[in-house]
């Protein structure tokens, strides 16, 4: 069981800084996702853990002992490439046995382990075949099995599911979780797909342009984003982010959103803002799941009056675009009857509303109610 | 991870050793070309660099005579040089044109799918096994010791190379480009001439250089099919003797140097595509 510490790591490629002063503490035995848009530095970070790159500054340690200078071969890391990097000219058996042969285990031992792993991954029937003849899904399993069989201390996976078809992806998500529990290793998983991260990880590290934006459990990241970027990146469909200004004097504050919608703040909310010290320009964040139609469910919820601009059906869910003046709210709702052009009243859940500083994107402590 | 220093040193050591082995023989010939007659044999203590470097050898072969030498040649190097040039160029032109056209036909129209393989088989046999009929045929059509006779056999013998090399280049041109041209109304020939050919031009140049090297380097065919007027440089070089001068090492070295230069230069130019040509397209670099 190995824990991984990334200590103030910076990585530069010439003029370009891929990773900036990243510090991350990954406890042993946990499933950690590195989440972020393309080019944010998550793969570079993973490469540095594996030893494929060296940090320009800072260090990486396993269980507290620094890895600098340790060769690739000695780190005992399991790595699953995005394109699997299967040894195409060897048989499935030889692929699985590679790591064991390199460690010079006895033939019988190798055989036992290979067959066990093949059975575990469900590819026993393909053992004698050339690895290039496998289907993509089977290759995925082989890639995982090949890395897992040597019982590495840490498991690194670089967007392993992106090449799979959708149904198999869902299946593999579940499988990976089970595997991780079974093997008990620390797993570090790079992805740009927040659904994967949310469903698989014990903790998510959100990275943007080389910087760590937030590091926490999925629900924490979802409910309590520290920045506008995180709020925007996590959650499907995307959170409503509406820019606006706080107006009025303390005691009588209202939020004037671009496009005309106005939200009167309660005295308590106003007090919150003035206590925290509010910025004039504010971004309101409210998830589509937290906008509902029909009857008011809680006295604190903010009611708005607007028109139904557009309705979009995505499978069983219905997305409704509600417009107040020029301000648009996206709502995910299962309210029965809804037609375009209808004037309706909808409610924003005050307890789930978020406010961000428009300029810096930082989360503001104040709530709307 | 960088390779450890020790491994790097070992690597350089072996590579430098290889370079020495490569250069050693070449250097010997090059220095020999600049040595005067007395230094051709150990008699006077052999050394690498000529004690008295001279252009005598070159003078001799180019002009037919040189200062301080009692012997002369009935012709200068200009004859075999021209012979090599003309026959190589004409043979190359023949091979490249027919090879390109036929490989396009096979690549695009599937003509004679057995052609490629039979073309390959030609390269299997020792030429001497079939030279007698060729000599007889050539004599019959009066092609012995003529520029066109030698060019013709050169063209035929290097056709397989040109064919296979161009085929690999044609296979790399996406058919969609040609289809687009056809859809806009071009005939098949116009598509080839106006669309495909410009695209494979660099490949064509490579092919021409490659085939030229092969033709220029030929020895056996020139030996058998020429006698006096059209002997090529390599043959001329190897048969240079004189009753007085004996083996004429210096002159031969000078000739060898001159003969070796064009292929080396061209070879460096087409370095990127050497693998393609030499493996008949089985491998690319």
């Amino acid at each position: 069981m190995t824990s991984v510490q990334i200590n103030n790591v910076t990585k530069r490629f010439g003029d370009f800084t891929a990773v900036r002063d990243l510090t991350l503490d990954i406890p042993q035995g946990q499933f950690i996702a590195l989440l972020g848009p393309s080019g944010c530095g998550k793969t570079t970070t993973m490469n540095m853990i594996a030893g494929l790159e060296n940090p320009s500054e800072g260090s990486i340690s396993f269980n507290g002992s620094d890895l600098s200078g340790m060769r690739l071969q000695d780190r005992n890391i399991g790595f699953v490439f995005q394109n699997y990097a299967i040894f195409t000219h060897l048989t499935v058996y030889k692929n699985l046995s590679y790591g064991l042969e390199v460690r010079r285990l006895a033939r019988s031992e190798i055989d036992r382990k290979v067959r066990a792993m093949a059975g575990r991954m469900g590819i026993s029937h393909r053992l004698g075949e050339a690895a290039s003849r496998l289907s993509v899904n089977e290759m995925q399993k082989l890639a995982i099995g090949r890395s897992a069989i040597v019982e590495p201390r840490v498991f690194l996976l670089d967007e392993p599911l992106s090449n799979l078809d959708a149904s198999f992806r869902a299946y593999m998500r579940a499988e990976l979780k089970v595997l991780q529990r079974e093997f008990g290793q620390t797993m570090i998983y790079v992805t740009h797909d927040q659904i994967e991260a949310m469903s698989l990880a014990d903790k998510i590290a959100i990275i943007d342009q080389g910087r760590l934006m937030q590091y926490g459990a999925p629900l924490d990241v979802y409910n309590d984003p520290h920045s506008r970027f995180v709020a925007n990146f996590v959650g499907s469909p995307r959170i409503n982010l509406l820019d606006g200004r706080l107006e009025g004097e303390s005691g009588r504050l209202k939020l004037l959103l671009d496009g005309g919608a106005e939200i009167a703040l309660s005295a308590g909310a106003a007090a919150e803002f003035s206590r925290v010290g509010f910025a004039q320009a504010v971004t309101l964040g409210i998830r589509p799941q937290h906008i509902y139609l029909g009857d008011r469910r809680s006295p604190e919820d903010i009611g708005m009056r607007g028109r139904v601009e557009e309705i979009e059906r995505v499978g069983p869910t219905r997305l409704a675009y509600l417009q107040v003046g020029q301000t648009r709210f996206l709502s995910v709702d299962s309210h029965d009857r809804l037609s375009t052009g209808e004037e309706i009243t909808f409610y924003l859940r005050a307890d789930k509303s978020l406010a961000f500083d428009l300029a810096t994107g930082d989360r503001l402590g104040g709530r709307l109610h | 991870m960088r390779t450890p220093i020790l491994a790097q040193i070992v690597r350089y050591a072996f590579i430098i050793l290889a370079c020495i082995v490569v250069i050693y023989p070449l250097l010997w010939m090059i220095t020999m070309a600049f040595k005067p007659f007395p230094e051709w044999t150990t008699g006077s203590g052999m050394t690498w660099l000529p004690k008295q470097p001279t252009l005598q050898n070159f003078e001799f072969v180019i002009l037919g005579h040189a200062r301080g030498l009692a012997v002369g040649l009935d012709r200068s190097i200009l004859w075999p040089l021209t012979a090599s040039l003309i026959t190589s160029i004409c043979g190359t032109a023949l091979a490249v044109v027919t090879g390109t056209l036929s490989s396009y036909a096979v690549a695009r129209f599937g003509i004679m799918s057995s052609l490629p393989l039979s073309v390959l088989q030609l390269r299997l046999f020792p030429p001497l096994a079939v030279m007698i009929p060729v000599m007889v045929m050539w004599a019959f059509i009066g092609a012995i010791d003529t520029w066109w006779g030698l060019s013709l056999i050169y063209g035929i013998v290097t056709l397989p190379f040109a064919f296979w090399l161009m085929k690999t280049f044609f296979d790399e041109v996406p058919v969609e480009i040609e289809d687009a041209a056809r859809v806009s109304g071009c005939s098949y020939w116009r598509v080839f001439y106006l669309v495909t050919l410009p695209i494979v031009m660099p490949g064509l140049a490579t092919c021409a250089l490659f085939v030229f090297i092969l033709n220029w380097s030929d020895y056996l065919l020139a030996l058998l099919l020429t006698s006096k007027d059209w002997i090529t440089l390599p043959v001329y070089m190897s048969t240079l003797t004189s009753p007085i001068g004996g083996q004429m090492y210096g002159m031969k070295a000078a000739l060898g140097l001159i003969a070796a230069i064009p292929p080396v230069i061209f070879g460096l130019l087409i370095q990127k595509h050497l693998v393609r040509g030499l493996t008949f397209g089985a491998l690319k670099q």
Binding site: L72, Q73, F79, A85, I86, F87, H89, Y98, V102, R146 | R11, I15, C19, L26, W28, M29, T41, T42, G43, W48, G99, L101, S102, Y104, A105, V106, R108, F109, I111, M112, L115, S118, V119, L122, F125, P126, L128, A129, V130, I132, P133, V136, I156, S187, Y188, W189, S217, Y219, L220, P234, S238, Y249, K252, G256, A260, V264, L274, V275, L278, T279
Partner: protein
């Protein structure tokens, strides 16, 4: 009601103008046929007649010394005697043996050296391009000139003896035991770069990700090389070996210029044997028989090889 108009007349002229050649450029199959025609004709020219003539001659006793033209060779028919003769011709089999000796020593040597060099060149390092160009040079030297180079080098008064400071002055080219060795060395010098070129091209074709995956699994560079690269380039190795074997069998230029087959017949390879028989002995019908036999055997081997290769693919 039929109306006479100008149309039919114009039609005819249009048809006349559309000659065969413009239709060729419009029809794929026709164009392909004509494009390939010159090459096919050349090949037929160089294959059909020579083969027929060889076959004809091989069944006779004819030589140019007979004084008659070759097409009257039928006057000395002998069905098969030439073929029997070649089976028991000691000189022929000795020449073949020497050729095989050359191949068995030279080709593995070239392969191992080429493989070793390719291994060194796999990773990037300072000066790689320059050294690469230098090492490729011998391959591009005119073979006859290579013969000359080593002829000069191996003279008993030459530098090789000097450099190695041997007390006895060896005669490389005229010593019975060393002549073949000199030829082998010359051939290896010239063609190891070819092996190097082909093997390196194959090795660089191995995807880097796979090698990285191997290293992450704990393999050293050497283990990666043995277990990932070598199996993967099996077909490349086969190509290189086949190419070199065929060319080595045909070797002529280098040997002829270096030793002319001497001393005596020490370096007389099959090509030199045929040369001697053709020009010294003028035994043309015998050479025809030998030629055909070699053709036949090689084609057979090639066919087997290809059948084996396609069998392995499936």
């Amino acid at each position: 009601m039929t109306e006479m108009t100008a149309e039919p007349v114009l039609d005819k002229t249009r048809q006349r103008r559309r000659g065969y050649w413009s239709s060729v450029s419009l029809d794929g199959r026709k164009l392909g046929f004509w494009l390939a025609a010159p090459a096919v004709m050349m090949l037929i020219f160089i294959v059909i007649f020579p083969l027929a003539m060889q076959f004809y001659l091989s069944l006779t006793w004819w030589t140019p010394l007979d004084g008659v033209r070759w097409y009257r060779a039928y006057e000395s028919f002998n069905i098969g005697d030439n073929y029997l003769r070649l089976l028991t011709d000691g000189a022929l089999w000795a020449a073949l043996g020497r050729t095989f000796l050359l191949m068995i020593v030279a080709i593995p040597a070239q392969f191992m050296l080429g493989l070793g060099l390719a291994y060194l060149f796999m990773e990037q390092f300072v000066g790689r391009k320059l050294f690469y160009s230098i090492i490729l040079t011998p391959m591009m030297i005119v073979p006859a000139v290579v013969g000359l180079i080593f002829f000069l080098l191996f003279q008993s008064t030459g530098p090789v003896n000097d450099t190695f400071g041997l007390p006895v002055s060896f005669s490389w080219l005229t010593d019975v035991h060393r002549a073949m060795l000199s030829v082998i060395i010359a051939d290896t010098w010239q063609w190891t770069p070819l092996m190097f070129l082909i093997l390196l091209a194959g090795m660089l074709g191995v995807p880097r990700d796979q090698l990285t995956a191997g290293r992450l699994l704990g393999a050293s560079n050497w283990q990666n090389f043995r277990k990932i690269i070598l199996p993967r380039i099996k077909s490349v190795i086969a190509i290189a070996l086949v190419l070199r074997t065929v060319e080595c069998f045909k070797i002529f230029d280098v040997v002829f210029v270096m030793t002319k087959g001497g001393p005596g017949v020490e370096t007389e390879t099959i090509s030199l044997f045929l040369y001697k028989k053709t020009f010294a002995d003028l035994d043309w019908s015998y050479v025809a028989a030998i030629g055909l036999t070699i053709l036949f055997s090689l084609s057979l081997i090639a066919a087997c090889g290809m059948a084996y290769a396609s069998m392995k693919k499936n």
